[in-house]
Amino acid sequence: MRVLLCGLGSILTNAMDYRLRKHGCKVVRVSDSTEALSRIHAGLADILVTSVNLQGYQLCTFIGLIREDMHSMMPIILVTEPEGDIEAVLEGMEAGADDFVTFPFKPIELVMRIKLLLHRYVNH
């Protein structure tokens, strides 16, 4: 499993990188959506975990480019904060994101969501 972590900040990215590697995932880390698109385009990721607050392309444009321009059905999980921008989450889900988690989350929660979505994706 190759997990692309986008825009989560260095501290959370480092922590999730560590936990995901312990669960057998390979992690690709990018700080903005433009860089994420180039990694997806190069086929370097199986699933995207992204902040809803992005540098580069904004969330809906970003997801739209993945779904419509790249014709990719890659699973997408959004990361938001409590009292975060729920409208951004809803717009992201409408644009094609599959799931979301609210920070601070338990690492195993994100790992299980990733595994579940990838299982569904592979068996679709």
Partner: protein
């Protein structure tokens, strides 16, 4: 056995994320000790330049970082700062909020250095 108590940090979430791994904990502590002062400096630059949207971006990014150190006062002050900068409201309060965050951050970093 002596137990060190801290007044400004609460590292339960960091311990959860690092799964009790001492090396990973050390790496994360070093990242926090480096990143927090750097980001506070960015906040001060944004205030001087009255660049409220960039300040919002820095403040938003720090929400996650402050959650890792578990200090409710800095989390809440930063939340107010994020709201004010994002919506460009109560702009006269923003320098004071950044000052409060800096004062707390200094104490947080001092305690993080004691954990190392």
């Amino acid at each position: 056995m002596s137990v060190t108590t801290y007044n400004y940090i609460q590292l339960d979430y960091l311990e959860t994320m690092t799964d009790g791994d001492a090396d990973m904990m050390q790496t994360m502590l070093e990242m926090l000790i480096t990143e927090i002062p750097e980001e506070i400096e960015k906040m001060k630059v944004c205030v001087a330049a009255k660049d409220w949207q960039e300040l919002f971006q820095v403040s938003h990014k720090m929400k996650t970082t402050f959650s890792f150190v578990g200090n409710e006062a800095i989390i809440n002050t930063n939340k107010t700062l994020e709201h004010c900068s994002r919506h460009e409201e109560s702009l006269d309060e923003i320098p004071g909020l950044v000052e409060q965050i800096e004062e707390l951050a200094i104490k947080i970093v001092e305690e993080l250095q004691q954990v190392q």
